[in-house]
Amino acid sequence: MKNKKFTLLIIGVVAVTGFWISWVSYNPSDEKAMATFVSVNELMNNNINKRIKLGGLVKDGSIVISETNQLECNFILKEGSSELYVKYGRTRPDLFKDGAEVIVAGQYNNGVFYADELQTKCASRYEGDLRNESSYNLTEVQQ
């Protein structure tokens, strides 16, 4: 048995998997496989209609829970001075409330953002400064 054959085999395996990985990276079959993170401003200005993710704060007093279906709610997401009207119809996380920092994923259509995922930030209580409860890191998300 020549070592050459094994070298070819190794190259073959690497090539096939390399192709497979890059192929899936460019054409993931599930739309939830990847989502682009944008800011509310970018969304408003560009009117993106593919699936995206956004982060921001829940505007105080903006949460409205539907009378007919308690699962459905809408609220206003604030990012700086920009505001976005969000509709969400699934189970809300424990920490979802006024002023909570949230990340939503979904589609934007005619001024309404239809979210199918809603995540809240981990409670700052456990990591932040002892006196300043709002000191938390932007990259931390509670799933």
Binding site: M1, V14, P28, K32, T36, F37, Y126, L130, T139, E140
Partner: protein, 654 residues
């Protein structure tokens, strides 16, 4: 006073560490035995001071000394005793100290175990271990000191308390188990590094670290499984694996370590793949440190990440340092790493191992790619992208299934070359059964990967059973033993081989469980008392809603009566909605938490989450999931641990 002693102990450990490395470096130049002894004892001293610091911090946690910032941050007076202890690894600085603590246990064991063995290798083994300790000592001394006093101009009456999510017994043991695995690989790495320095190419050091590697691998596996179990029971999204960056961080070294465990068998038996084994152990150790980096740096958003991010650059530098030092050294030793023998045939066990190794590494790369994709994409294209579980599932499912298939094929191949007669004899039955299962699963109505996965599981199980059967038959004929004693003797004569097969069986069980995921069903709804809802043939009735005040939380409990499609009673589920710190006058400091309830059978779990309650109208918001075959994953975990223990069990003559 005492917390200061903790800080002093850490400083002393750091000083001793530098002295150890210095002394041993001189020893390697002048070979003065006295220096070796001094170095050894200094190294034990490093570990001693780390033990001391760890005990002091644990004591501060137990007595709730809130003058220590760490204690005030992660515990409160009400925190139950066991979670005061587990708070040791709940936060950034404490968990780094805990990392050091485990490394020091391993380092001490290694030094004591090898006092009269491996005299040539030990100096560099100790240097490698101590350098790793020094790195973590720099972090705990200068970057994030666990003994930092509370920065408050007032007296802290009570601490923050431990996150309720972490108040779970699995969560108390998952991190230590995982750490034992992560840290455990520093010992085989240290031996490999030392062997490189000493140009020691004999398979001797491989034998001496095989057991270490297996121990570390066992803990890493258990840590990963426990993490999944905790997520499943506590996080309430109904799954056990989310391809979260930190999960991936533990999975990547597991993959390379598994590859290493397989390929060292070839080096032990055939003295082949020297270079490749070096690469694997270096990669495994680097990935362990890299995994710790991913957890600490805040580069990735993850449930696991700690907030502070000042550690990132330091960690990354250490990762690069290890890689440059090890691979650089390896490059200079390339001549010594050339194996004298070559693989003879495609149909040999060697080639099976080689193929399995490639797939493990490829899988590891795929996971790494997906984990770093957001970072790469942001750096190159400037857009922030998040990669979700479906991406990993799509890429990794076929690769995983190839591995599963190899689990069945590999052990049936003979060393050097499998003759065609042997090939037919060994493969006929498993392959026939494989095709029968494909047809049967297709007839049942399953499709795609599900059919392939289930059929491969049947194939591998057949292969394993037939290996056991053949081995037993040989013994029965040769030694006239009974079935029972033939089985026992066969396993005890060849523990690593049959232990390995049992581990393979555990993996098959897990794959059955993973495949069950394809049949998951879920539904979210709201119910008033007396109303019913249906899912997958089951009926869920909200019987009542009750309330209960407990020491550290307030709970609303919903009683769900579950009946099957024939109206037969199945079980009552009691998912709870809790609010922790409910007595806190500041509403924002109260923390809601959904405590779920699971009814588990061999073929499915019924998983219930009480997500919120409308008090005025007495409406419960619930989420129900039917998760088929999840139990198989946990059973597979037990089998895996059992098999590894058999492989690890010492022989009598040792």
């Amino acid at each position: 006073m005492t917390p200061v002693a903790g800080g002093v102990a850490l400083s002393l450990a750091f000083g001793f560490g530098l002295l150890t490395v210095f002394t041993l470096l001189i020893y390697t130049k002048n070979q003065d035995q006295r220096l070796f002894l001094v170095g050894q004892r200094l190294a034990l001293g490093v570990s001693f001071f780390i033990f001391l610091a760890t005990f002091i911090l644990s004591y501060q946690l137990i007595i709730s000394n809130f003058d220590v910032d760490y204690v005030a941050r992660y515990t409160s007076i009400e925190t139950p005793f066991i979670y005061k202890i587990s708070a040791l690894w709940a936060g950034q600085s404490g968990s780094l100290l805990f990392w050091l603590f485990i490394l020091s246990i391993f380092s001490t064991i290694t030094i004591l175990q090898n006092q009269y063995k491996h005299h040539e290798l030990m100096p560099w083994v100790i240097i490698s271990l101590t350098v790793t300790q020094i790195f973590f000592l720099i972090l705990t001394n200068y970057v994030t000191n666990p003994f930092k006093p509370t920065e408050a101009d007032f007296i802290v009456a009570n601490g923050n308390g431990l996150n309720p999510l972490l108040q779970n017994i699995t969560m108390a043991i998952h991190p230590p188990t995982l750490y034992l695995g992560y840290v455990g690989f520093s010992v085989p790495f240290a031996f490999a590094f030392s062997a490189l320095v000493n140009r020691d190419t004999s398979p001797l050091w491989i034998q001496s670290i095989r057991r270490w590697t297996l121990v570390a691998w066992l803990f890493l596996s258990m840590g990963i499984i426990l993490g999944g179990w905790w997520a499943y029971q506590e996080l309430g999204w109904g799954g056990y694996w989310a391809w979260d960056p930190v999960e991936n961080a533990s999975f990547m070294p597991w993959l390379t370590a598994t590859a290493f465990l397989h390929s060292i068998i070839i080096q032990e038996k055939k003295d082949m793949l020297r270079l490749w084994n070096m690469v694997l152990i270096i990669l495994t150790f680097t990935l362990c440190i890299f995994g710790t980096f991913l957890t600490r740096s805040g580069v990735m958003s993850s449930v696991h990440s700690f907030t502070e991010s000042s550690l990132g650059p330091i960690f990354l530098s250490f990762v690069f340092f290890i890689m440059i030092a090890s691979f650089g050294l390896m490059y200079s030793r390339l001549d010594d790493l050339k194996s004298p023998k070559k693989i003879e045939s495609f149909t040999s066990r060697e080639s099976g191992f080689l193929f399995n190794n490639m797939i493990f590494v490829v899988l590891c790369f795929a996971v790494l790619w997906g984990t770093l994709f957001p970072v790469i994409s942001e750096a190159i294209r400037g857009t922030k992208i998040t990669v979700g579980a479906p991406f990993f599932n799509q890429i990794n499912t076929p690769i995983g299934l190839i591995l599963l298939g190899l689990t069945g094929i590999g052990p049936l191949l003979a060393w050097r070359r499998t003759g065609s007669k042997n090939l037919i004899r060994k493969f006929t039955l498993p392959i026939i059964i494989f095709f029968i299962s494909i047809v049967s699963f297709l007839l049942i109505g399953y499709k795609g990967y599900v059919v392939i996965s289930f059929s491969l599981c049947v194939f591998v199980t057949t292969a394993i059973i037939s290996e056991f059967y053949l081995g037993i038959r040989v013994r029965k004929n040769k030694f006239k033993e009974s079935l029972h004693s033939a089985l026992i003797n066969m396993i005890s004569k060849n523990r690593s081989r049959y232990g390995g097969y049992i581990v393979h069986l555990g993996i098959v069980f897990m794959f059955v469980g993973f495949t069950g995921h394809a049949f998951d069903r879920e539904k979210e709804f709201s119910l008033q008392v007396g109303q019913v809802e249906h899912l997958a043939g089951y009926e869920f009735e909200l019987v009542n809603l009750s309330e209960s005040e407990r020491p550290n939380h307030y709970a609303w409990i919903s009683k769900l009566r579950v009946t099957d499609h024939q109206g037969q009673f199945v079980t009552n589920l009691y998912p709870e909605k809790r609010v922790y710190f409910h007595n806190n006058p500041d509403i924002n400091r109260r923390q809601p938490h959904s405590e779920l309830d699971i009814y588990s059978e061999l073929n499915k779990d019924i998983y219930s989450i009480f997500s919120s309650i409308d008090n005025q109208k007495q409406i419960a918001f619930l989420k129900i999931m039917i998760n088929p075959l999840v139990r198989w994953v946990w059973i597979g975990g037990y089998i895996l641990v059992f098999g590894t223990l058999i492989a690890l069990w010492p022989r009598k003559e040792e």
